[in-house]
């Protein structure tokens, strides 16, 4: 037994159990939470270089699973998000006798499907297997987005479908050209010829659409803002990270030797524009959930701004760690923020920022959770967001790159502006609105996630060490042995 298998098999088993249990499906999280957190912890403490082939069938046919730094950071964060979201959704998606709704029943199996799919995606190095995991995650994501607005869900569905097909087209070209779709083998075999470049281009384009990098972000704000709070949290925190992880695998592992610096700069430039555009749009929003959704557009920019910084660094391990820490802290903070926003908006029965007046007194814990998440998102110390942005800024200055450094600073300022606005409204006002008390679990979930995002700021060295486990040669340098079999 290995956590590499169980991290995928267990959520799928819980999905089956949720389907069979019917009404009682939501109780399963009481078992699934501890099991998944324990498995994630097991994954983190595995010795470095742990990897194995599913069914012991050798490459190039088989599928390789691997516990590298990316997985060791993202799997536990994903588990934390899912557990918190599930506890939060406990009441919202509970089948009530007499007034049963489809979503109360279907939310739980889909949550486990998404969980299993994300874990499978982080752990595999097989590009076709990644296609199947993308579809597992998208399927659940589309259905969750459609719970809020069917029209936004349908738009998301069609765009995600074309994105996955673009990715599949690239996989088809690679599979025919190199007789393998394994990233570790492609790293050895790939040559810079037309089919390979074509495959990289269409795969990257498809994944960028699914990751919603500016200017391909159009579908994200309506879908993420309209969905119910737990669904928004999962969509913004977890779903878009999978596309990003696959891009890391492609750009820094499978094709690290082939990709030109100009392409890295292009991606970095798009990231910079995403930061500026998303922040400005977030500042202009009147509705709280749209603000948070546009903040996702901006924060995604940082992930890609880091690409040229990693590629050109003297010591690439540092920006590599930064981008992973940013992914993790954004995951935790954004999930916390959507959950807290959901509580706040439900309390005031509105969706505008101006509706929040005086809320800090009425529901201090939820506003605190929002504020803690905001600290991490804006990159203020001490927080995971700060660690990530500090490392990125350090790398940019070290390389003498003025534009990324400036964008990092300006993005941080703009982030502080748009995140401060709802908080200042919540703290303003003389009278506290009358608010119905929420269940303790629902209040605790966002607070726990936001605190985790802050706590990451104190674990910088551990995170950096974890991120370098079995890192691809392009990041770890040539001394590191090839990723183990």
């Amino acid at each position: 037994m290995s956590p590499l298998d169980l991290l995928v098999a267990a959520p799928l088993a819980f999905m089956v159990a949720a389907l069979v249990a019917g009404q009682g499906g939501r109780w399963l999280i009481l078992a699934a939470g501890p099991v998944m957190l324990a498995l994630s912890a097991w994954l983190v403490v595995l010795p470095p270089g742990v990897a194995h082939l599913v069914g012991d069938w050798d490459l190039p046919l088989g599928i390789l699973l691997r516990a590298d730094g990316v997985a060791r950071l993202l799997v536990p964060a994903t588990s934390a998000c899912f557990v918190a979201v599930a506890l939060y959704a406990w009441h919202e998606f509970s089948p009530k006798a007499g007034a049963e709704t489809a979503r109360a029943h279907t939310f739980w199996p889909m949550l486990y499907l998404m969980w299993g799919g994300s874990n499978a995606g982080y752990l595999t190095t097989d590009l076709f297997n990644l296609y199947v995991t993308i579809e597992m995650v998208s399927l659940a994501a589309v259905a969750m987005a459609a719970m809020g607005s069917l029209a936004a869900g349908l738009q998301y569905f069609l765009i995600a479908l074309v994105g996955s097909l673009a990715y599949l087209l690239g996989v088809a070209l690679l599979a025919s050209h190199y007789d393998t779709v394994d990233a570790t083998l492609l790293a050895v075999r790939a040559r810079p010829d037309l089919p390979t470049l074509m495959a990289i281009t269409v795969m990257t384009a498809g994944l960028l659409v699914k990751t919603a990098l500016f200017p391909l972000h159009g579908w994200l704000p309506p879908a993420h803002a309209a969905a119910p709070a737990p669904a928004s949290a999962l969509l913004s925190a977890v779903v878009i990270k999978l596309g990003f992880v696959i891009l890391l695998r492609l750009w820094f592992e499978a094709f690290a030797e082939i990709i030109r610096p100009a392409a890295m700069d292009l991606l970095g430039g798009m990231g910079a524009l995403a930061i500026l555009y998303g922040s400005v749009q977030a500042i202009r929003q009147e509705r709280l959930k749209l603000l948070v959704a546009y903040s996702t557009v901006a924060q995604l920019g940082y992930l890609f701004l880091a690409f040229p910084l990693i590629a050109n660094a003297q010591n690439p391990a540092e920006p590599w760690a930064a981008v992973l820490v940013h992914a993790v802290s954004h995951m935790l903070a954004k999930a916390a923020m959507f959950l807290a926003a959901g509580l706040m908006l439900k309390a005031v029965a509105g969706d505008r920022i101006s509706d929040l007046a005086g809320l800090a007194r009425a529901m201090p814990l939820s506003v605190t959770a929002f504020a803690l998440a905001a600290i991490s998102l804006a990159g203020l110390p001490p927080s995971g967001g700060f660690t990530a942005k500090f490392l990125l800024l350090h790398a940019a200055i070290e390389q003498g790159r003025v534009v990324p450094a400036a964008v990092l600073v300006i993005g941080g300022l703009l982030g502080a502006v748009y995140l401060f606005r709802p908080l200042s409204v919540a703290f303003s006002g003389s009278a506290a609105p009358a608010v119905r008390a929420e269940a303790p679990l629902r209040v605790a979930a966002p607070l726990a996630l936001a605190s985790l995002a802050i706590a990451l700021g104190f674990a910088g060295m551990t995170l950096i060490e974890l991120s370098s486990v079995a890192a691809p040669p392009a990041v770890a340098g040539p001394v590191q042995a090839e990723p183990g079999r």
């Binding site: 599913v54 069938w57 709704t101 489809a102 889909m110 799919g117 297997n129 399927l139 007789d179 037309l194």
Partner: protein, 314 residues
């Protein structure tokens, strides 16, 4: 001779695709799409890929075609136009230009890849270890069983996702009934469905059984089964189940569950999804039978759609 046949086939594939995409009337489009799918099946036959041909005709043309026809009639019943006006000229022109450029690049990329079955010897070398003769089943159920396992959950998840779309107060009613409204037509379709359901059962079992050694397998068999269920439902021979029926739930999860359980049993004795020596064939056939049954039920319900309020019909 063969080359001429393939050339004509490709021209027909492209022609039917063009009509299916760009003809104004959507029913014509669907008809041509189904023909397109069948021609693709012929193309796969011409390539000697009988397994794919079966899957393409049954799933790609058959199930997808039925889905499109049903959705069209549901939209028409709601009074929605599907044949929308043509796009603005500049958009059409721009799209045509961009897509031609993209196609040219893609074609150039495809041309520079040498076709070849370089992995076939590798697969053939491994086949004796699992005791099957159909190499495609070997790849699907052993060498890349992980893909297939996840894929079975994709199918199950798609049904759950479709269910999540049920309108308020419809849960857990059955989907909109598929049975024909006209009594005389129901009579005709009913006797056809009653006759064909057992035949479909036998056919599905046969397809799964021969799938170990010759073309066939769980997905092809499951699709035949789904076709039998759908015909029987259209003829009123069987009703559609409520979505909270425990027997239905077990029928849906049985295939993925057995697959997962056998995979985990492999993990307990060695490696996830590894079959102990000598047991591979028995285990694979077991998985395939249960999986085909679950796939049949899942596909049929996917076509039927989300739960609907009682009394609403097309």
């Amino acid at each position: 001779m063969t080359a001429t046949f393939e050339l004509i086939l490709c021209v027909m594939i492209l022609g039917t695709a063009c009509v299916a995409l760009f003809v104004r009337d959507f029913l014509t489009a669907i008809a041509f799409f189904v023909v397109f799918g069948n021609l693709l099946g012929l193309a796969w036959l011409a390539m000697g890929a009988v397994n794919v041909a079966l899957a393409e005709i049954a799933i790609g043309a058959g199930v997808t075609g039925v889905l499109l026809v049903l959705t069209r009639s549901r939209l028409l019943a709601l009074g929605e136009e599907i044949a929308c006006g043509p796009a603005r000229p500049w958009l059409r022109l721009g799209a045509a230009a961009a897509c031609s450029a993209f196609t040219t690049l893609l074609a150039a990329a495809v041309l520079s890849i040498a076709p070849g079955d370089d992995l076939a010897p590798v697969v053939d070398g491994l086949m004796p270890r699992i005791g099957l003769d159909n190499p495609v089943t070997g790849v699907l159920m052993a060498f890349r069983a992980y893909d297939t396992l996840l894929e079975s959950f994709v199918l199950l998840g798609a049904l759950v996702a479709v269910w999540s779309l049920a309108p308020p107060a419809a849960w857990p009613q059955p989907p909109v009934a598929l049975r024909m409204a006209d009594p005389a037509a129901l009579n005709v379709a009913g006797s056809f469905g009653r006759l064909l359901l057992p035949v479909a059962l036998v056919m599905a079992a046969y397809l799964v059984w021969v799938g170990s050694d010759r073309p066939g397998g769980a997905f092809q068999g499951g699709t035949v089964l789904a076709g039998g269920f759908l015909l029987a439902a259209m003829g009123g021979a069987i009703g559609l189940p409520r979505s909270d029926d425990p027997r239905l739930r077990w029928a849906l999860v049985a295939g993925p569950l057995v697959f997962l359980a056998i995979g985990l049993a492999g993990a307990a004795t060695g490696r996830f999804l590894a079959y102990p020596d000598g047991t591979a064939k028995a285990l694979i056939v077991t998985i395939e039978y249960v999986l085909a049954f679950s796939i049949g039920v899942t596909l049929a319900l996917l076509v039927a759609g989300p739960p609907a309020r009682a009394g609403t019909g097309p």
